[in-house]
Symmetry: C2
Subunit: 496 residues, 2 copies
């Protein structure tokens, strides 16, 4: 039985952007809603997000964090309290001005009741530093109240002009950690710890290699003294910022007057971090691994890890095969695998193959009459389309082991692609050529926002990060653009 | 060591309402935020809600449901599409009218940018039937697409005038199930199934007895043909509606033009249900079980099930006791128990006892020097303050068994209180006397909204439900108010 490629998905090579949009919709992950820029996350997409949620939540708890919940709304005046923060976040946002509708006196449905105008407008949270630090003010009196290590899972709204499913939507789901510490060192350590948690999650569960680094001053979070990020490379060579962790210094503590009495009884301002990842990770996951036949999901995040498709002509064959499959399913589930038998009677096997390929299920098991005779099944891997005929004996253990093998294979594949596309560039001419081909360009930069801006204007490339872990970047050199001296290379790329 | 009652919590008998408010704040469950009517759910409160979430989510999945996520915002015009729904929900709500702020030209922080007015106002969802049925329209073509069994965990906003932590807040967290079916029968069955899931959750996990019943027409969800609810009795004899499940008929399918082709190829409107529980359950949990010393949490929902408090004079005693406790903790955790050792060195044992009582931890284990000598510990139950000295031998199994014992004990206690306060009332004079005492009054009612309204006006009592499961109510009689014939008793009560 030949593989059937899903003709409805655009080719990656023809139009990467269209391929992505197409895939998200065809694979039933998400769709546009009736509200501009807001998406509907469909059950299959949400099931992947739930897995991300559960794993991250466990990792946060293992590192000592607890969950809490803060209001959706932020009083407008709060946004103005931290000078840089207001510049970054008080622009495109959803503003609640009234609290009542009434029947239209002219009979045209409902209209806003002008008498129900709020005294102060409320902003739907674009991020929660302000409302949370206004709350922490009452929680923190002495060093005994510190640290506070809270996380919240929530929806946030940023009124983006150009939206794309998962990558940039007006409303998105995320988690935001907000911690309060007695010392600068402790806060810096926390911010570093959390960017490392994100990197570990990306690598071990998303099978996605990332570079950890500092953001340049220009790209920093509004109100942060330092921003760490994880940067991943998509298959078109563009960068995607997949998570950020901010050292906020005492900025929010000062804006909201949050002081604690230290062991000597002296008052001092509290040190802060915040860190977050969002449903954007879904976009990263899709663009990192998928192909022209559809999604390719890492076993650790696949809602269905194994799909079983029966092939038969007679009812007797059908019943015998499905009965055998049910036994195998039970054995696999006992080992913690998530298994689905596709016993739909109105679809041909080839159609089912294409559908489960589109949905990225890591392993497909096919059993036909001959397999029944021989005690075999056909085992196909989504990641490389390889197939093998294997014994039904010990199939559960074999498939379980295959899962970690595939997980490793996917990470390795993505890593090789990424590393092949990290290129040292030393001249401006070469930069302009290379940036068109995509990839991460490791270059010297003179450290000024002016140079950074000019490079961006001329090439659309930005400094993705000043890497910490992934390459030997500390070396003397000259800025790619200005020729001025530089002590380390940074990563330039075009980005999502 | 004598028990120390927490003097900061108001007495239940003096002022039940104040006792509740006090308890929520003192036990660190939630607090008012800077935004009118919106609460902050603190880590300890959120940990209980997380347990509720996880258990309910599992129960929904076991009954075939999947999660999805729909937009926070609803276009204003959607609310008008279902005639009754608009009356119920398009009143007090948060209205987004603008999508941008700008710097105040006069230098006073930020102001709404008048040029960024939305063409159509957006409503922060008070409930999601309209946006979801507008989405289902595109998901449903034929009978093969049915049923759709979606649930969403989300925040919703209803601009309540009088708010109380957990019980009635402007923003609250909830789940809302929205299902679509081919037939009326299937939808009715679904609505019943889910109210039963809620009742099972209340009984088995919250240790809270509930009455399942139909709502009267007046009390029905706006847009429903039938509403089922679970009604619980609080310790002041008032009723609390803890969950609802609605049979929506074809109302939303007609409003949003959602038709499917049946097996014969004929078009028909789809049948709907919706069902939800919210953070209100937290209020129910608190008011059902707690006492003047604080919370009393059922083991199934307690974030900390066992707290261990050491008593010592010397450092050697301290170290020996804590080492022994650490071993016991490990044994208990191996059996799935959640255990905390309170080794804070700046607090006296009596203070710790009071604090963990306030927080409702089901079991306290105390170990002092004499216990160490005798190989014993003191085991105290929060629910009835009983204490016993028991051997350290086999303590983990003993405590694990104690958990289910306490869970049962709490349910039994609540059930006895509830049943003692369900009273058959047959005269209007008696009704007016009894309603002042609280409790559920089982009365005949003539079935008219007019009578229901008059009774409410005169006594503040409403029909909580027309019970299905909990009492023999089918009998001939005369309406308590009008004297007209009635075929069954219903439950009247004052309610939260």
């Amino acid at each position: 039985m030949a593989e059937i490629s899903n003709k409805e998905v655009t080719n990656r090579e023809e139009d990467y952007s269209k391929w992505y949009n197409n895939l998200v919709v065809k694979a039933d992950l998400a769709e546009q809603s009736a509200v501009r820029g807001c998406m509907v996350i469909k059950p299959y997409g949400y099931a992947i997000w739930e897995k991300m949620h559960d794993i991250l939540d466990r990792m946060f708890k293992e590192t000592g964090h607890v969950n809490a919940y803060f209001p959706l709304f932020i009083p407008k005046s709060f946004l103005s309290k931290e000078a840089e923060h207001v510049e970054g976040f008080a622009k495109e946002c959803a503003v609640v001005t009234h609290h009542r509708l009434m029947n239209d006196p002219n009979g045209n449905g409902v209209v806003v009741d002008p008498s129900a105008k709020l005294e102060e407008e409320l902003i739907v949270r674009p991020t929660s530093e302000t409302i949370i630090w206004n709350t922490y003010k009452n929680w923190i009196k002495s060093w005994r109240d510190l640290p506070i290590l809270c996380n919240q899972w929530a929806n946030v709204v940023r009124w983006e002009m150009r939206t794309r499913l998962f990558l940039r939507t007006a409303e998105f789901l995320w988690q935001e950690g907000h911690t309060a510490h007695a010392t600068r060192e402790e806060a810096v350590t926390e911010a570093q710890k959390m960017v490392n948690v994100y990197a570990k999650f990306a690598r071990d569960f998303m099978a996605m290699p990332v570079v950890i680094g500092h953001k340049s001053e220009t790209e920093r979070f509004a109100g942060a003294l330092d921003t760490y990020s994880i940067e991943a490379m998509m298959q078109d060579g563009k960068a995607l910022q997949a998570g950020t962790s901010h050292f906020l210094g005492q900025n929010f503590a000062k804006a909201f007057e949050v002081q604690y009495a230290n062991k000597e009884g002296k008052l001092d301002y509290v040190w802060a971090t915040s860190w977050g990842v969002s449903t954007r990770l879904m976009g990263a996951l899709i663009m990192c691994h998928s192909d022209n036949n559809g999604l390719v999901l890492p076993p650790a995040l696949a809602p269905v890890q194994v799909v079983m498709v029966p092939i038969f002509k007679t009812d007797v064959e059908r019943d015998t095969i499905l009965a055998r499959m049910a036994e195998m399913k039970k054995d696999m589930e006992a080992l913690g695998l998530s298994v689905k038998i596709d016993d739909r009677d109105n679809l041909r096997p080839g159609f089912k193959f294409a559908e489960w390929e589109l949905k990225g299920v890591p392993v497909r098991i096919v059993m036909g009459p001959r397999d029944l005779e021989n005690g075999t099944v056909e085992l196909a891997r989504r990641v490389d389309s390889s197939k093998e005929s294997v014994s039904q004996e010990g199939i559960a253990e074999r498939v379980r082991n295959l899962m970690s093998e595939i997980q490793g294979q996917m990470y390795q594949k993505a890593l090789e692609f990424r590393d092949a596309n990290i290129i040292k560039v030393d001249t401006w001419e070469d930069f302009k050529v290379q940036i068109e081909k995509g990839g991460f360009l490791l270059c010297h930069w003179d450290g000024t926002p002016e140079t950074e801006e000019r490079i961006k204007d001329e090439t659309k490339a930005t400094i993705r990060c000043i890497p910490i872990d992934s390459c030997v970047c500390e070396e003397e050199g000259k800025c790619i653009y200005s020729g001025r001296p530089s002590h380390r290379r940074v990563i330039f790329a075009r980005a999502y």
